[in-house]
Each structure stands twice: as structure tokens, then as C-alpha cells.
Symmetry: C2
Subunit: 422 residues, 2 copies
């Protein structure tokens, strides 16, 4: 069952929150030793919150749904380490805004999930549930793996480069990154304010729509009716200039999607690549590098010895970028965000690669290459897992929407996903 179905049963009181929590805890007990998705769990507290929910009125859209929270978000009742030894055992004073919003809507925070070190590349212990020799991707490693392994129906993640879409793809779940700045970010460790977004993972598009509606306060995210073939979305096929780095598995998933969608959606076209689109990759890297070096100033100045070499090296690179360069880049970003909007007069959504291939073997969390442009542009995106690559590992593609039209994107993603899954 996906979170959407669970939610319906919970709301109609045909299922208790305690039942759902117990089922999750059983699965976790069985699997966590292999997957290592969590940094903290509190079964007793969660069960007691579930009992209270079962005894009271229906609280909201997430009533009784167990939720995993990426350890980059503050929680008042769980230690929060941002994936770093510097903050081992740290207990924040308050819930991050997205956590409080989910709790207000009835969600039960079952545990904190593994993040890479400050959401950069140094991995935590999490393994890919489809094959534990492979990475789950990063940085929202634990959230994606826990949902993929059916330990949880829903989990929160964050994306700065590719930290929602990439682990969703590697673990074979649906991942949703909302439009930039639609979700409150207070209490989320700040890395690159020009890009940081809170979103999440579920097993269906409807699941992440439920979570997205709570995070954005926009009821339209769950309010869409099923699209008929007559009002199928106008899909732009956009391999992007990075396409040569997509491997055979992604090429195959792409061919499969094109075939299905051309047959069923009447208005599909190749996207005409905007001039200089390829520059967005480097722009995303530069802005992120500058901003992370400043955002992590406390850690950089006082705790250098407790950070990994790759992170220290990133922060050094960031301090070498001047504020003058950053100001110019922010202006370029603003122009791009206006320019990209023109694409959406011809297409409702863009179909694009999510990753270069299946989850790599080993612990390195993979390449966010195909996510960087959408992150710096601040556009909403959804990963759709519908294919299988080498070793039976999942592959899929992402749909990218117009800024602020997250509800349109999700309606289109649901329509597309129903057709690709078959």
C-alpha cells in the first residue's frame, strides 16, 4: 500500500495509526541491520503518539502516517547531527519548520534518516535495499532507502544539487523536489540558500503530492483529478547537453518512455535546447561552492579537523571564489530563471534524465549531473521509477515543471507514471 491508500484507511478509521507504526517497526527490526537507513529511532515515543492520534480527531492530510526525517532537519525530540561528527548527539531546541508542518498535519516522526556529511558527498552507512553492495545515492540516503525498503511510507529529504532525485532513482522510489522557496526552510541546515529545497519520497506520485501539499500549503497538489487522454500533458523531451553521459540503462529507459508517451500523449515534442543551457552545470557548482563555504563558516573556522577532506577542499574552493563573482552569478541565475519560463509556453512538463545510470557499486553516492541545472533554476521535479537496469537495479526519469506550478507537474507526473509503469 502506498501512503495515499494508508491515509484513506487511517482517515476513515479502518486502520489505526498504531497498526501502521507497528508494521513499520517490524519491517525496520527485520531490515535495518542490512540497510542502515536511520540515525535515530524512538519506537516507544512514536507508538505513544500513535495512540494519542487514534484517540483524537483526524488531524490533517498526513494523519497517522509514519514519517522519516532526513538528519539535516532539526527535531526537538531526536538528536540531529547533519551527518557530521561535529554535531554528534546534538539535540535542537525546536523542530525545523517542515517537520512541524508535517506533525501539525498528523504525521508521526518515527526516526531520523541518514544524510551524507552536511549533505555533500561523504557517505553515511546506508546501503541500497536492492543490492547492498551499491550506494543508495545521496545526500538523502536514509530517506530514499527506508521508503524503498518499505520501512516507511513517506520521508523528508532536501536537494541542493541532486539529493532527492538521485537517491530516488537509485533506490527506485518517487522523489519530489518542490519549486524553490515554496517550502519554509527554518531549522534545516543551510548549505546554499540559492538552491536548498525541502521535499520528499514516497511510493507513488500521489504520496509525494500528499507530502507536498502539506509542505507548500497548496491544496491543489492533491486536488487534481485524473487527467484523461484528451487533456494529456504536453511533454517536452529534453535529453539536455549532458546526454552523452547517460549510459545504456538510461538510454533504454528513455527509449521506452518515448515510445509509450508518443503513442498516448498527443502533444509531445523535442525541446529546443536554450542557447548556452550547458553553462548551468558550472553555474550551479560555483554558486553552491561559494555559498556552502560561507554557510558552513562556523564549522570551517572552528572544526576543520572534524570534517572530511573532500568537504574541506570544497570549502577552500568556495572561499577562493570572490563575492564579486558570486554577485554576478546571482544575476545570471535570475536571468536564467526568467528565460527558462519561455520553454513552458510550448510544454507543460519536461521529461529529462535523472541519473547517468543505476546506483554505482560501492559507497560513493553517484553523480548529480542531470539534476544540477534544475536545482539552480529552482524548478520543481519528480523522479519516476519505472524501469530496470543492470543487476536488476532500478532506473527511471524525471519530469520537470514550470516554476510554482507544482500541482500541474504532479498531475502530469501521475498521468505519465501510470502509463510508464505498465
Amino acid at each position: 500500500m502506498d501512503a495515499w491508500q494508508l491515509c484513506a484507511l487511517l482517515t476513515r478509521r479502518e486502520l489505526t495509526a498504531q497498526d501502521v507504526v507497528r508494521a513499520c517497526l517490524d519491517r525496520i527490526a527485520e531490515r535495518e541491520d542490512s540497510i542502515h537507513a536511520f540515525t535515530a529511532l524512538d519506537p516507544d515515543a512514536t507508538l505513544s503518539q500513535a495512540r494519542a492520534l487514534d484517540a483524537g480527531p483526524v488531524r490533517g492530510l498526513l494523519h497517522g502516517l509514519p514519517l522519516g526525517v532526513k538528519d539535516l532537519l532539526d527535531t526537538a525530540d531526536f538528536a540531529t547531527s547533519y551527518g557530521s561528527a561535529i554535531y554528534a548527539g546534538f539535540r535542537p531546541q525546536a523542530d525545523a519548520a517542515p517537520v512541524a508542518l508535517c506533525r501539525e498535519a498528523g504525521a508521526l516522526v518515527l526516526g531520523k534518516t541518514v544524510s551524507t556529511e552536511f549533505a555533500y558527498f561523504t557517505p553515511g552507512p546506508t546501503r541500497n535495499p536492492h543490492d547492498t553492495a551499491h550506494t543508495p545515492g545521496g545526500s538523502s540516503s536514509g530517506s530514499a532507502a527506508a521508503v524503498a525498503d518499505r520501512m516507511l511510507p513517506l520521508a523528508l529529504g532536501t536537494q541542493t544539487a541532486g539529493s532527492i532525485i538521485r537517491p530516488a532513482a537509485y533506490c527506485g522510489v518517487v522523489g519530489f523536489k518542490p519549486s524553490l522557496r515554496r517550502v519554509a526552510s527554518g531549522g534545516v541546515k543551510s548549505l546554499s540558500p540559492s538552491m536548498d529545497v525541502v521535499g520528499g519520497f514516497g511510493r507513488s506520485v500521489r504520496d509525494v503530492a500528499l507530502l507536498g501539499a502539506v509542505l507548500t500549503g497548496d491544496a491543489r497538489l492533491t486536488g487534481w483529478r485524473e487527467l484523461s487522454s484528451a487533456d494529456a500533458p504536453r511533454i517536452g523531451f529534453f535529453q539536455t547537453p549532458a546526454w552523452p553521459q547517460a549510459d545504456a540503462d538510461v538510454q533504454q529507459a528513455w527509449a521506452q518512455a518515448i515510445r509509450v508517451l508518443y503513442a498516448q500523449a498527443s502533444d509531445c515534442k523535442d525541446v529546443v535546447t536554450p542557447t548556452h543551457f550547458a553553462e548551468l552545470i558550472q553555474l550551479q557548482k560555483d554558486v553552491m561552492t561559494f555559498e556552502m563555504a560561507r554557510a558552513l563558516s562556523h564549522e570551517r573556522v572552528y572544526h576543520r579537523e572534524r570534517m572530511s577532506a573532500p568537504l574541506n577542499s570544497l570549502l577552500d574552493d568556495g572561499m577562493a571564489i570572490t563575492g564579486a563573482q558570486h554577485a554576478a552569478q546571482l544575476s545570471t541565475v535570475a536571468s536564467w530563471r526568467q528565460r527558462i519560463d519561455a520553454l513552458f509556453t510550448r510544454h507543460d512538463v519536461l521529461l529529462c534524465p535523472s541519473t547517468t545510470g543505476i546506483a554505482p557499486e560501492g559507497t560513493a553516492t553517484g553523480d548529480p549531473l542531470f539534476c544540477r541545472s534544475w536545482s539552480i533554476l529552482g524548478l520543481p521535479s519528480v523522479h519516476l521509477p519505472f524501469a530496470t537496469g543492470q543487476k536488476g537495479l532500478p532506473v527511471g526519469l524525471q519530469l520537470v515543471g514550470r516554476f510554482g506550478q507544482d500541482h500541474q507537474l504532479l498531475a502530469a507526473a501521475h498521468w505519465v507514471f501510470e502509463r510508464l509503469k505498465r
Copy 2:
């Protein structure tokens, strides 16, 4: 002496950091009982840090300068309450990014300064140093008052609606709000991410340029040479549609400025008001109200009884604004930010009112009316105190710059301020 002069003497070791700290502490001991600018002070720790600085190499642009930090920014060594009883005695785990950047550059954090409740309208105990029956303005009340009363050479503040420019005007100091997102905001209590900016206060434009260079990492902020009359800035005079609410004191300051600048700057023109410019006021209010209600979700859900009635009422209003409205408003904001840029092809900087008049009598912190548009547009601005209104209280005007051109704005502001002060 302004911070710039102190900095020169400190860097040349003609003055010790200990001397400067002691002078500040003496002034604070004398005046704090009347002004109430601080929430926390630690003279011993600051003096011991000063001794360490005096014994070591010159650290950076702020070497040995005592700094006040608005209590909306986290500090690892001072309690941080965000102006709210909810966080009384709370000790953060880390310095906010701007605090760490200032310390890295050699600043000595002497104390935390009073903020209104979560930087909204419920005032703290701070009084206006020019007349303690009047407000210092808000929300950066303590920082503006401490600098105005010569307790500190420099202090950090934040602006979401008018929380730097307004208290700077009421207290008669220079206030600087940088371009949106040029300054890292990690560890600063998030209120409205579409507008929140960290900046500060000093006694001269050079002072805030020094602080701004450290906060933005842009050396051009202090690198400008004095402008000659030949390259005087092209100033656009822009009363804005809210002008009818400017009182006689502001009108007089305006007339004085126009007279001086017309005579000395060769290319001054009235700004042609962009169509629908007046809508920015309501847009700023709506976006802030929506975002504060979500940013303060933890407090809203769990600590309602410990917040003031005006704040609870704002948060209720914010929850009544839908995410759909917010998404539309974010798009409008993005368009406006592009549109406003066209003004700066004709003008280098805009001269605009800062406040409706002098600091009001009583504790209410005054109206941010003349700051709201520039806050939602994300443009950099500097308040210049150069005139005197009723009861001898300070009045001034603000200069607004092009996005990302903070260095040009500061060079122009220095040029203008030198002429208006005479």
C-alpha cells in the same frame, strides 16, 4: 572615531583591541541602564579575546573591532532568544554564519543586542538614545541604539520589512542592507526567506562598507576610491507612491538633499514611477505573512501561549493565505525583480525616504512603509542620517542600489553623505 578609523589604528597597532573594548565597556556601564540595548554581555570573555588578538597577527578587515550581534543570530557563547520568551536562556550549538565570518575577520563579539519578538512588532526594552521617551525603531533595536549611543562601533542587524533602515533612521546612524542572498543566513532565525537579509550599522558609510565586505566576501565594498565631482553618481529622486505619508521633517530633509545634490551631481533626475509600483507594499506584506506563519511553525503549533497577540494574529493571517496564492506571488516578485533593473540604466542609485518621520514617542517601533518595496525587491540600501527633525531627533533618507551592485551603492552613498552632512 568611526569603525574605519579605529580599524586603521588597530591594524597599525597604534591602538590595542583591549583599549577599544574597555572604552566600549565603560560607555556601556554608563549608559546601558537608560538604553537597554543588550540582552547579554560578557566583558571578561571579550577582554580575554582582545588580549589574544593583541598578541597575535592581524586577523582581517574587522581586526579588534567590538561588534554587537542582534539576538536573532545564533551565537555559541551567548544565549540567543530571538526576542522571544520561548527561547529564554537558549544556548545555540554554533555561531550563525555571519557571526563566524565577522569573527574570522577579527571582530570581537561584545554582546547580543535586543530584537523585537521574532523581529516582528512587539518591542523589547530598548530606548532611543536621543530621547528615551521615543522608540529606537525595530526590529534591530539594540544594534541601532548601541551604535548611536557610541557603546559599539559596529553591530549586525537583519531586515525583512524595514528592520535595518528604520532603526538606523530613528537612531541617526548609517544602516546597510545588502542585496538579497549575498550574505549567508545559516543560524539566523528564518522569518521570510524571500526577503530576510543580514546587514548592519555603523557611524559612517565606510563603517558599514567594512562590515559589508566581510559579510559578502566582496572586497569591492571597501575598495572604492573617493568619487570626484566629475564621476558623481547619477541619482534618481524617487519619493515613491507612499510619499503623502512622509511628514514635515522628512519633507524638509528631502528638500535639503535635493538642493545640495542638484547643485553638485550633474545627472540627477526624478524617477518615472514604474506602473503598479504601489502594489509592492501589499505584495511584501502578503509574502512575509505567509512565510512567517510557516517559518514559525514550531512556535505556532507548540508555543502559542508564549507569543504576543499581534504575532499570533499575524501567524493566523498567514495560515489563511494559501500556498497557491504564495506561488503566484513568488512569480510576481520574480518579474518585479527583473523589471526594476531597468530603472538602473538611467540612475546609478535612487534617493528615497527611509521613514514617515522621526522616531515615534512610546514603545511601538514605527512603520516600515518606505522600506517594504525595497525589501521585497531584494535591492541593497543604505540609510544616511543627515538632518534633524522635531525635538532634535534624527531624520535622513535612504539610497537604494542596483541588485548585486552593493559596491557602487556604497561608493555613491559615501559621496552623497559627505555632501549632505555639511
